[in-house]
């Protein structure tokens, strides 16, 4: 079984004080699949990602990555699992006291015994994948929003992860840059054969990336299926949700 799926989320619930953000969520992500998670702001999309990576613990339920139940692991075991996961934050979360080169080198220095020459080569090649090799010695403050996202993406994939988690990868970007980032995500996914979970409410991005989509509403999965079925749904809430996005297209 473990060779057909990579992530299995079983009956996960999470509440903050009295507010239930996730309510009995169950979903399975197959190896090599791109799952897009839709939903309004505050419906627990980012919380779901943070539970998968172990930044938050669910109140109830289990999350398996391969055969490891991340909700039951200690920090050391969790870190072993995390070495195979990349996470792109909404804000890119670049270390602002380091250059682009140092940002990318940082995880490699901590987890590998690569020589400086090997590091240089790996950093350059990864930046080439996101077309930012010219920004190698820039500070994050010198980069535009789209460039920061791309550097964040490069830093996430530099350790060759099996699973990529994207938290709103195109939020705050113009439609052209949104398409560029989405194309980049899909081309990297194909090149590196990764599995991806993408949290977004951007239909352009979702249409390019998604193999399958789920829609979260009031902490529950309100829809699960193909992206086209989601946009053509007759549910008044979904029609209303996607109307603005469809107009934009």
């Amino acid at each position: 079984m473990a060779d057909t799926w990579l992530v299995k989320i079983n009956n996960v619930s999470k509440a903050f004080d009295d507010f239930k953000v996730l309510d009995d969520i169950s979903v399975t992500i197959r190896k090599g699949e791109n799952l897009v998670v839709f939903g309004q702001s505050g419906t627990g999309k980012s919380v779901l990602l943070k539970c998968i990576i172990g930044l938050l613990s669910p109140d109830i339920g289990e999350i398996f990555i391969k055969d490891k139940n991340v909700t039951k692991l200690n920090t050391k075991e969790l870190n072993e699992v995390r070495k195979n996961i990349g996470f792109l934050f909404q804000s890119a979360a670049l270390y602002d006291s380091m250059t682009v080169r140092e940002n990318l080198e940082f995880p490699l220095r901590k987890h590998t015994t690569m020589t400086q020459k090997e590091l240089d080569e790996k950093v350059f090649n990864t930046l080439e994948l996101v077309s930012l090799e010219n920004a190698i010695d820039k500070m994050p403050s010198e980069l535009s929003g789209g460039m920061r996202k791309r550097v964040g993406l490069a830093r996430s994939i530099i350790t060759d992860p099996e699973l990529m988690l994207y938290d709103e990868p195109t939020t705050g970007l113009d439609p052209i840059t949104t398409k560029e980032i989405s194309d980049l995500i899909i081309s990297l996914q194909r090149k590196l054969n990764m599995t991806s979970i993408v949290v977004t409410h951007d239909l352009i991005c979702a249409k390019i990336i998604a193999d399958r989509a789920i829609f979260l509403r009031n902490g529950k999965i309100a829809f699960e299926g193909q992206i086209d079925d989601l946009t053509k749904s007759t549910d008044p809430f979904l029609i209303n949700f996607f109307s603005d996005e469809i107009i934009k297209q």
Binding site: R82, F87, F89, S91, A93, L94, P107, T159
Partner: protein, 269 residues
């Protein structure tokens, strides 16, 4: 590790103030426990410790230099008329030396250091927290507590005693300048009087307590920054509250350590 975090209330009522106070106490306790648990475990991050010691030392050097010099100068100027009343102006170097070595040097350096460094650590880590850089480190399987907190706390603990010795020496020069203005005293006499007045038992407890003050400055600044929330306003709060808490703790621990010193070395009294 889950560190209890204090919730921010704009105008807290009595219960919220009470809860916030005990949340801070429990948070700092957990934070200290985590520090001592991790400080002896590899990786030791020596390069980061050295980098922080360099930065913090260099950052604080100009302000403590001026402060140290002025403390000695003013203390001598203030003490002179008092000692003159008793015909004891020959004891001016002794008065300056003992006051600076035993109390003023360590405490004032620690307070200046807290204002300069703790707010900086609080703001830096607070900003890293609210921009998810600490989370980014954690998801990259890197221990942010070890890399960001332990290294900074070791650096502040090690650098403050060095700065204090430097301040004491500068204060002595400041005192000498005041003495030669008011009293016709040779440098040789002043130096011999200072060296004769300050004994090993005066110097060691005075400097030793700065290790504790340095630790307080590092751990409080790091705690406030590491647990910051509420966006940029939270960063500002982390920065200012760390200085307030530091100053309070430095004075409380100074009182405790003076008492401990007098119990351990009764001859100093």
């Amino acid at each position: 590790m889950r560190i209890p975090r204090q919730k921010y209330f704009h105008r807290p009522n009595l219960t919220q103030t009470f809860v916030a106070f005990f949340t801070t106490i429990s948070g700092i306790t957990v934070f200290n426990y985590e520090f001592f648990k991790q400080v002896f475990l590899p990786p030791y991050e020596f390069a980061q410790i050295k980098k922080h010691m360099d930065e913090l030392g260099v950052k604080t050097l100009p302000i403590v230099s001026i402060t140290g010099f002025i403390i000695g100068l003013v203390l001598a100027m203030q003490s002179y008329p008092v000692l003159q009343r008793f015909g004891a102006t020959d004891f001016l170097p002794n008065t300056v030396a003992l006051s600076v070595v035993r109390e003023l040097g360590p405490v004032i350096t620690a307070l200046i250091f807290a204002g300069r460094v703790s707010s900086g650590i609080g703001a830096e880590l607070g900003s890293m927290r609210v921009t998810e850089q600490i989370d980014a480190m954690e998801v990259s399987a890197i221990n942010p507590f070890k890399y960001l907190v332990v290294t900074r706390v070791i650096a502040t603990t090690m650098i403050l005693p060095i700065l204090t010795i430097y301040v004491i020496i500068l204060a002595m020069f400041g005192g000498f300048l005041a003495v030669i203005i008011t009293e016709n005293m040779s440098f040789e006499y002043y130096k011999n009087a200072v060296v004769g007045a300050v004994q090993f038992g005066d110097f060691i407890p005075g400097v030793a307590k700065t290790f504790v003050f340095g630790y307080i400055v590092g751990i409080v600044g790091a705690f406030k920054g590491y647990t910051a929330d509420g966006g940029t306003a939270g960063v500002g709060r982390a920065s200012t509250t760390s200085v307030v808490l530091d100053s309070l703790l430095i004075l409380i621990f100074d009182m405790i350590l003076v008492k401990v010193t007098l119990v351990l070395w009764p001859t100093l009294g």
